[in-house]
Amino acid sequence: MATTITKTETLVGKRIRRREDPRLITGTATYVEDIQMPGMHYAAIVRSPHAAANIRSIDVKAAAAAPGVVAVFTGKDTEKVGPVPCGASLPDLRVPHHHIMAIDRVYYVGHAVAVVVATDRYLARDAADLLEIDYDVLPAVADPEKALAPGAPAVHPQWPDNTAFNYHQEGGDIAKAFADADVVVKQRITSQRLVPNAMETRGVVAEWRGADRQLNLYTSTQVPHLVRTLVAGMLGLEENRMRVIAPEVGGGFGSKLNIYAEEALMGFVAMKIGKPVKWIESRRENFLTTIHGRGHVDYYEVAAKKDGTILGIKLKIIQDLGAYHQLLTPAIPTLSVLMMPGLYKTKNVSADIVGVFTNCVPTDAYRGAGRPEATHGIERMVDILADELGMDPAEIRLKNFVANEEFPYPTATGLTYDSGNYAAPLDKAMALADYSKILQEQVEARKQGKLVGIGISTYGEICAIGPSPATPAGGWESATVKIEPSGTVTVMTGTCQTGQGEETTFAQIAADELGVDIDNILVLRGDTSIVQYGIGTFGSRATAIGGTALYFALQELKAKVKLFGAMLLESDDVTFSGGQVTCNKSGKTKGLAEIAGATYRAMKLPPNTEPGLVATHFWEPPNFTFPFGAHIVITDIDKETGDIAIRRYIAVDDCGNIINPLIVDGQVHGGVAQGLGQALWEQAVYDDNGQLITGEFMDYAMPRAHMMPWIESSHTITPTNVNPLGVKGVGEAGTIGCSPAVVNSVVDALSHLGVRHIDMPLTPEKIWKLANAGGTN
C-alpha cells in the first residue's frame, strides 16, 4: 500500500523528544548482552593480578578438565593473532608489540593471560579459578613522573627510560615573547586519570559460520567499520568475510573508539570452536582493562605584558600512556598542543610532550580527548595571570580574545578557527550571573569570614573531527538515503551513536529536506553489512560531518525525486517541496509514495536515469569546527569541612546552528556532569605497586543525580561556514568548559588566603587544609 505523507512544519531547530528513548528507558533495547544464539558458549578471561611479572608457567589441565569447558587458550595459543593496532603515528614512536593476551610477561593489572570457554558462563568462571599461573613478580611503576626518574623499573625492558616518544611543536617566536614579557607565570597542573565508565560495559559475541566462511562480530563500539577492517586484519580474515554489528551501545565517551584485544580474541575463539561465543565485560574488568582518560602532568609558563596581553605560552606535557598504545593513545596529547592557545590571540607557543609508559592500563580518548586538558591548563593560567596582575578574570579574557573580524583565524598551532564571537557568550554569562553584583557580594562575604568563589572559563574546542589529513583513519563521513517503493524513508549513517540522539536529529534533517513526517523515517547505523563504510561517532563529529553527508545525499535524492515527479507530471517546470512534486503550470501534484512506486516499478524512466531512489554521499570536511562558550560557576565553601557547594552553574555554549535544542541541552548537561566528576570527585588511583585501588564504584566516585547542581544552560549562535548546516558539534563542550570554571571558582574563593592553584579532584580534605592554612597544593 502506498502511503501519502506530507508535512509542512519545519523540524530542524525544534525541541523534539528523542525517538530512541522509549526503548532505552524501558529496558527493551537490544545490547550485545541481549544477543542470544543456539549453542552459545561463554568466555571468562583470566587476568593478571600483578602490574609487572614474568609468567613462569601456566597449567591449564584442571581448568580444561572442568565441567562444561570446551577450550582454554593462553597467550601462546593466540600469539599469531594481532597485534592490537595503534593508529597514531608520531616521529620515532616506540610501539610495543601488543599481543591480544600476554605471552610471557604481564604489564598491568588486568592484562589478559588466558581465556576459558565453556557451555555456561558460571562454569567458565568456575574453571577460570582453576588455572595455575606461576608469576615472578617484578617491580612496577605507575606514576609517569616516577617512571621518568633514573633507576625507575622499566615497563618494557627494551626501553629503560620508559619514554615512548618526545614531541615538539612551536609557532611564532617564543624566545622573543618571553624576553619582551613584563611578567611570567608558571604552574604545574595535573589532569588526573579517569575511568570513562560507560553505563554498558564492553561486550562481544562472535559467530563463525564456517561453511559460509563468515565471521559475525557483535561488539559494543563507536566505530564498527574500523573494527571490521582492523580486526579482520588481526585475525588474517578477508575483510569482506567479516560483518561487525554494533547493536544498541550504552555509552562510550571515547572508550569504545578503539580496537580491543577481546574483539579479536572472541573472533579467534569462535573460529576455533565453531560455535558462537559471548564475553561480557564485568564492571571490574571495565575499570581495569578498558582505556582510561586524561593522565596529564603539565608544566605551564605564560608570558604577558603588564596590561594583560598574553605574549606567549610554553607547555610541557608528561602524558601517562599506560603500558601499551591503544588505537589513539599517543595522539591524544597532540590534540592538547593544538588547543593550547585556547581562544586567545597569542601567536607564540612552544610545546613539548613526553609520552611515558607506566604499568597501567592504556589511556586514550575520553570525552574531550586532549582538549579538556588544554582548556583546563590555559583557563587556569589566565586566571593565575589575572591574579598576578590584579586584573579581573573577565577583563583579561576579553582583552586577549581573537576579535570577530579576525576570522578565519590562523592559530599559532597551525589551525584555522572557522568563526567566532568569543565575547558574546561571556557577556551573556556575566549578565546571567549578575557579575558585578556577585563580585560585591563576595567582598561582603569575605568580611564575614565566608568563602564565596566566582569562576569563569571561556573555552574553545576542536570539533567535527576531522579533515582526513588530520586523522589516522579518514575524517569524512557517509550517508545513504533510500526511499522505499511504498514511500518510507531509510537513512543509513556511517556514524554510530552511543546515546547521542542522532536517530532523532538525522530524522529531523531528512524530514525537513524531503517534506515527510518524521515517523516515516528510519535511521540505521552500526551494521557493516547494511550500512556503507563509515568512520563512526566521536570527536563531536556525528552531526557536523555525518549530518552533512546526509544533507548532501538528500540533495542528490531530491533531484532524482524531482526528475521522476516531472516525468509523471509530464512537465519540466516542477517544484519539490512538502513531500510532493508540483507542476508549476497545472498545479498538479505527485506525492512521494506515488513517485517512489513508479521509480521501482520502472515502467518508464526519465532519460539517463536508473530505477530506484537511493543516494549515497561521502563527505570530506574542509576543516574542523571550533565551538566555544563561557561557563560561570559560583561556589560556597564550608570553611569548617572543605565542602564545596555549587550555588550557580551558568553554561553559555555556542555550537553554531542547533538542530534539536533538547538534545543539545542534554549533551551540555551530560558533559558538565562528567566535567564536574573530574573537577570534584573522580580519580583513578594506582598505588605504588600498580594496583588500581579505585577499581569499583565503592571507591571511584562517579557523579550521581543528587550531586548535580542546576545547570542554567543557554546559547549564542555563530554558525560555521565549514558545512552547509552551520552546526559545529556539542558532544564534548560541557566537559571541556566545566572543569576550569569549577576550579577557578574554588581557587577564587580561597585566593585571598594565598591559594593560587589546586589540582583536581577538589576533595573536601584538600580544600579544608588550604582554607585553614593557605598556600597551593
Binding site: 593480578p49 579459578d129 605497586n689 588500581l692 585501588i693 579505585t694 565503592m698
Partner: protein, 150 residues
C-alpha cells in the same frame, strides 16, 4: 601502604625475641594461619584461611625471617596468594626493654592486590591494624601459655 605501630609483650626481651622466631608460635599467631611448614632456613610455607565479615578465602603463603639481630631486631615477610588476590606484609620489627616487658615496634609496607585491592580500599587500613593487633595478642597469649606450662 605504610604500616607502623608498637605493642608491648609481657616478656623479657630475649624471651620475646625467641618466641617470635618460633615457627610453631608464629603459625598459631598469624591470623588465619593453619600452620607453618619449613622450606628452608628461616623460610616457611603456610596455608591461611582468612575470614573477615563475608570475605573469606584460602591463601597459600610464605613466611620469611631475615636480618636477624637478636635480641633487638629482625625482618618478617609474610605473603599470601589466593583466588581473591594477594597480601604481602614486609616489616622491620625492633625490640626494646620497657617497663612491663618488651616493646615491639614495627615499620613496613603492606600490599594488597587483586580483587581485594579494588573493593576493599576503605577497609585495608582498618583491617591491617586489626590483623596486626590479633597477631600480637595471640603472641602474648602463646607466650603466657608457654610460661604457664614451663
Amino acid at each position: 601502604m605504610k604500616i607502623s605501630g608498637s605493642y608491648t609483650l609481657p616478656l623479657p626481651i630475649e624471651r620475646a625475641y625467641a618466641v617470635m622466631q618460633d615457627p610453631a608460635v608464629l603459625g598459631r599467631a598469624i591470623p588465619g594461619c593453619e600452620g607453618l611448614e619449613k622450606t628452608g632456613p628461616d623460610e616457611y610455607r603456610m596455608k591461611m584461611k582468612m575470614a573477615l565479615a563475608s570475605l573469606s578465602g584460602a591463601f597459600e603463603g610464605k613466611v620469611r625471617i631475615t636480618d636477624q639481630a637478636p635480641p633487638s631486631s629482625f625482618r618478617l615477610v609474610v605473603e599470601g596468594t589466593g583466588r581473591v588476590g594477594f597480601v604481602k606484609g614486609d616489616g622491620l620489627l625492633k625490640l626494646a626493654t620497657v617497663d612491663g616487658g618488651t616493646e615491639v615496634s614495627y615499620e613496613g609496607d603492606a600490599q594488597v592486590g587483586g580483587t581485594m585491592a579494588a573493593v576493599g580500599q576503605r577497609l585495608i587500613d582498618g583491617t591491617a591494624k586489626m590483623m596486626i593487633k590479633k597477631f600480637f595478642d595471640r603472641l602474648a597469649q602463646e607466650a603466657n601459655a608457654q610460661d604457664a606450662t614451663e
